[in-house]
């Protein structure tokens, strides 16, 4: 419990630190939302100044940070000047769409990477494993951007997949089964692009961790005792290889929000990606800060999950 308490306190401190730094950098950045308004000849400088006053932009840094922090604790994350609304209600539906996309892709990538990496490690130095490695290296070299564009071409040429959005028109009139099918069809391409982007890295880590554990003396010893290859892999080697994989799993949970921003923009997925891009362009720092804080929160939660899993699975950490 002491360990969990310490890790939780550590996580809270990271969140406070990141929020302070992000707020400071946003404050130091040249220009703000009002810079564009000042350039508009239809707006008088007095009107823009009055708007700044109303939004509290002239208050001191600690006062503005305090107000923003209090608002964030209530889930509002301040006020969006570009959308003229509290940030929270803008974020939540888009956050759901992003998490639906990324968690499905991450799950899919892990489900393929684990058996693939185990299989590769068990067939080291064989041509079949090398051929798979070649394909994975090729995939690793292709940027997500190119994969997404390729998926768009596939959607246009084949007509099998809808372009953009999360549901089709008339979604509410569909039966439940048709609604599920419709969402799955919309998700198929963006999920595939994201999963293909994650797969080579995950499979490589699984392969290397498994190969290292296979060379450990206890695995060699177990082989000498006639333990059959599959039992050796699953009962001896895989648990020993789990530590780096758990840390990687925590990291992939942490990147659930940030991993898909670019793919969402290109493929028209109504998640946080397009909103974030729009907010950056409009210098709407309220939205930008909220997305940064949500990403950090997920990263911290991912690391915390990994730490707790390691605590559960590694007797050496418990013994400390």
């Amino acid at each position: 419990m002491k360990y969990v308490g310490r890790r939780l306190l550590h996580s809270v401190l990271i969140l406070v630190g990141v929020s302070l730094l992000s707020f400071l950098f946003a404050d130091l950045a040249p220009g703000d939302f009002y810079s564009a308004l000042r350039a508009d000849p239809r707006m008088s400088p007095q009107a823009v100044e009055a708007m700044r006053q109303r939004a509290g932009a002239n208050k001191s840094f600690p006062a503005r940070y305090g107000e923003w922090a209090a608002s964030s604790l209530h889930g509002d994350f301040g006020y969006s000047l570009a959308f003229n609304a509290p940030v929270g209600p803008l974020l939540w539906p888009r956050l759901g769409a992003t998490l639906l996309l990324t968690s499905t892709a991450t799950l899919l990538a892990w489900l393929v990477a684990l058996p693939l990496g185990v299989w590769q490690a068990s067939r080291r130095n064989r041509w079949s494993s090398r051929a798979v490695q070649l394909v994975l290296t090729f995939l690793l070299a292709i940027p997500d951007l190119l994969l997404a564009l390729g998926a768009l071409v596939l959607a246009v040429e084949s007509g099998l997949f809808p372009l953009g959005g999360i549901v089709s028109r008339g979604f509410s009139e569909m039966s439940t089964a048709a609604q599920v099918r419709d969402v799955v069809r919309h998700m198929a391409l963006p999920v595939s692009v994201l999963a293909l982007g994650m797969l080579p890295v995950l499979a490589r880590h699984v392969r290397v961790a498994m190969a290292e554990a296979m060379d450990a003396p206890f695995a060699l010893s177990a082989r000498a005792n006639g333990i059959p290859p599959w039992r050796l892999l699953l009962r001896h080697v895989l648990p020993a290889a789990m530590h780096p994989l758990i840390a990687l799993f925590g990291f992939s949970l942490g990147t659930l929000l940030s991993a898909s921003l670019l793919v969402e923009v290109i493929m028209g997925w109504p998640g946080l990606g397009p909103l974030f891009l729009e907010a950056v362009t409009a210098r709407d720092f309220g939205v930008v800060l909220a997305v940064v804080m949500l990403s950090t929160t997920l990263l911290v939660l991912g690391n915390l999950t990994a730490d707790l899993l390691l605590y559960r699975t590694d007797p050496r950490i418990r013994a400390k």
């Binding site: 450990a216 003396p217 206890f218 060699l220 010893s221 177990a222 082989r223 000498a224 005792n225 006639g226 333990i227 059959p228 039992r231 001896h236 648990p239 020993a240 007797p315 050496r316």
Partner: protein, 217 residues
């Protein structure tokens, strides 16, 4: 007429390891393999234990070219690293029996405790994880596990090297006792000539992958 040796090695060659190695080991004997690092001792041991396949040559155990894996067991150097830290002592010893589908859970557990006692470990510690044991105790555990399958030949690859002198002497005594009780045959790889003199009946000196000398201990 002398009886057929337990182990016969004929012209064994493995690239970057051993060249045209031939030797016989009589049942119940202890053959020590000595020589500088890189002489090919461990490569020969790995081929005998079935970890590596030789490029050419022949290995015969009781005249057979193939034998069940459990008949030749190998104990490695690092006692701490050669036991799965996630397993209890009882699980480590009983696992080979489980693989061989010998007996039920309670009979396997009883056999594990019996083997622990035979190597001088407290059977009550069967539920303790391997990491809870000292270096010498772990090596006893490794021996107990190797004995589970009642091997004919036990290969000890620097198995006592990492132990301090008093523990090393205890394990050497244990090995001699087990050999007397069970008629075990050992191949001992070691750099420690006093240990070799104490345990081995015959010494084979290897250098650059070949046997350069063979003499009584």
């Amino acid at each position: 007429m002398s009886a057929e040796p337990l182990l016969q090695v004929r012209g064994l060659t493995k690239t970057y390891g051993i060249r045209d190695v031939s030797l016989d080991v009589a049942a119940g004997a202890t053959l020590a393999l000595i020589g500088p690092s890189g002489a090919g001792k461990s490569t020969l041991a790995r081929c005998l234990a079935g970890f590596d396949r030789a490029d050419s040559g022949e290995i015969l155990l009781e005249g057979r070219t193939q034998w069940p894996r459990q008949e030749v067991q190998m104990i490695l150097q690092q006692p701490a690293a050669s036991l799965n830290p996630r397993f209890t002592a009882g699980e480590i010893i009983a696992e080979p029996l489980l693989i061989q589908r010998q007996g039920n859970a309670s009979s396997r557990s009883a056999r594990a405790r019996e083997l622990m006692a035979s190597v001088g470990l407290d059977p009550k510690a069967a539920g303790a994880p391997a990491r809870a044991f000292s270096g010498g105790e772990r090596q006893r555990l490794a021996i107990a596990r190797a004995l589970t399958l009642e091997p004919k030949l036990l290969i000890l690859d620097e198995s006592l090297a990492s132990l301090d002198l008093s523990v090393q002497a205890q394990i050497a005594n244990l090995l001699l006792d087990l050999q007397e009780q069970r008629g075990l045959t050992y191949i001992l790889i070691s750099h420690d000539l006093s240990l070799v003199g104490r345990i081995a009946s015959e010494v084979v000196v290897m250098d650059r992958g070949t046997i350069v000398e063979r003499r009584p201990a």
